[in-house]
Symmetry: C2
Subunit: 344 residues, 2 copies
Amino acid sequence: MKKYNIVTIGGGTGSFTLLSGLKKYPVNISAIVSMADDGGSTGRLRDELGVLPPGDVRQCLVALSDSTQTLRDLMNYRFEKGDLAGHNFGNLFLSALEKTQGGFLRGVEEVSQILNVKGTVIPVSSQDMVLNIELKNKKVIVGEKQLDHNQDVRNIGIKRVYLKPKVQASESAVAVIKKADMIVIGPGDHYGSIVPNLLVEGIPQAIAKSKAKVVYNCNLTNKRGQTDGFDLDRYAEEINGYIGKERIDFVLSNSNGLSKYLVEKYEKKEGKDSIVKFNADKKEKRRYRVVVASVVKMIGAPKRKNDALAETRSFIRHDSGKLAKVLMMILEMDEYNNLIKEII
Amino acid sequence: MKKYNIVTIGGGTGSFTLLSGLKKYPVNISAIVSMADDGGSTGRLRDELGVLPPGDVRQCLVALSDSTQTLRDLMNYRFEKGDLAGHNFGNLFLSALEKTQGGFLRGVEEVSQILNVKGTVIPVSSQDMVLNIELKNKKVIVGEKQLDHNQDVRNIGIKRVYLKPKVQASESAVAVIKKADMIVIGPGDHYGSIVPNLLVEGIPQAIAKSKAKVVYNCNLTNKRGQTDGFDLDRYAEEINGYIGKERIDFVLSNSNGLSKYLVEKYEKKEGKDSIVKFNADKKEKRRYRVVVASVVKMIGAPKRKNDALAETRSFIRHDSGKLAKVLMMILEMDEYNNLIKEII
């Protein structure tokens, strides 16, 4: 069995889900992670210590870790009291290693060994990434965390995002893209996790040149002020636009019927078109093929009324196992088609 | 990822090929092996020491072994001189363990540990299996090795084969069939390796009752006096007949164009219809689906004329990697079809 090289591009919860599923297959995984996060524990560490953002990298390390549950829980442990309240132990660990080991990349390597990580976690850049958000009224606001916390974003809407200053891709990110059999973009927050990776100089160029199958895990839901009314084709066109070439080969579209409860919850918060639609007849020709598959975690309404905890936990999210399975099928599709002529 | 239970039924080179390919996938493999062999080194050990036949079991152990090449070569090493000439070291090893460990099964367990075997090799029975071959003129000849070495078989032809005395299936063989997700019958010599397994009391009954997908790797070539003119459907019907129920779900048929050189070589030795054919229109309805796939090792004519070594080595054989890949696809077909609605 050929050991395929899979490169994932993203950050945050989306990458955690994807990598947790993929790690169960005998493949070489390289996870390229955005360094634009500046919210929460990560943001405080960036501000106060001048370190690179550890949060997204930590999530990917834990997802790919083959160590004990205890050690993985420890990495994700969030302090609840005192000066440390809100900080993840894993973030502090990575930041301390960055300081003592002479660089963030060395720190990631150390933690990878300790956590017995199956694969490689690669910061997209080792330079400081600062996301600039230009609103439709030309006003520019600075910082990735503004996306979800600044009311102007929701009310006025985003025109474009960019990095200032410009940053270069890390050498290892470009190297793994070059050797990839499959590049998986997303899932992840569109402007918060996916696009920032594609703004790093060297990344779009490497993807454009690569011979890999490029799969885009399209977002499941839209965000008010950010991606209002985007459908699957619009997302794919945006991503191709950032790559600078119609490079996507496959786009994953969810076929699951979502529970009425979840749809209503999203529409209430993010507006009427908050579930991403796919209309097969909209375009006559697509350079990419759309794989309509069951990839979402099924969550119904909370069993008890006013179950606040269940309610805050019920999101429309990709299912780790289903997502990985469908990606593996896409990866092996050619090989199957080459071997099997017909089934009678 | 679900870890599937795969049970293979066979013996000899066919099982070696199949298991060498399957072992590269993350599946639980149980290899059920015929104990009817009585030729060569194995036959001498049966006759002289009264042990169970080690040859087929050894081949399966080596195929599933994850140990060094040195150790695997050692197991297959064939002595060339003196009293030991013709004996495989591995056969002697297994027979010596049978004597010192109080039974063949214990010996197999010991060797499995030493060879770091990925899976379980299970003798179909721990009783002495003696193949009786009834010819078309009612004459009965005794011993599996007669199939390929008795001219009466080639000239008169086989009516049927049976075991005398009857033997019972080993408990572990029945147990693994019960838990199987997929049962793979063949590849292997029809009357020499496959049918003897199905003559063991308890095996056909267990297969008939099992909920597994049953895949039959149909023979690629026919043998004069044994399976003259058999086509794919005839083979499948015979196997279903031995099972006592139309239990086969999939039959693999080779789609590769075989080299003219190989076809001529076989036709010269085994007769005009020596390549197994499949005619999709022959039957209106089949209980089994026929998977037409590229599963044969491609071998052309020897590069130099009169290259005797290349000539003796060029057989029509299954390709280990292709065979395993197609089987994995069949195994996962339902899961894929459940997940993927359509590709647009």
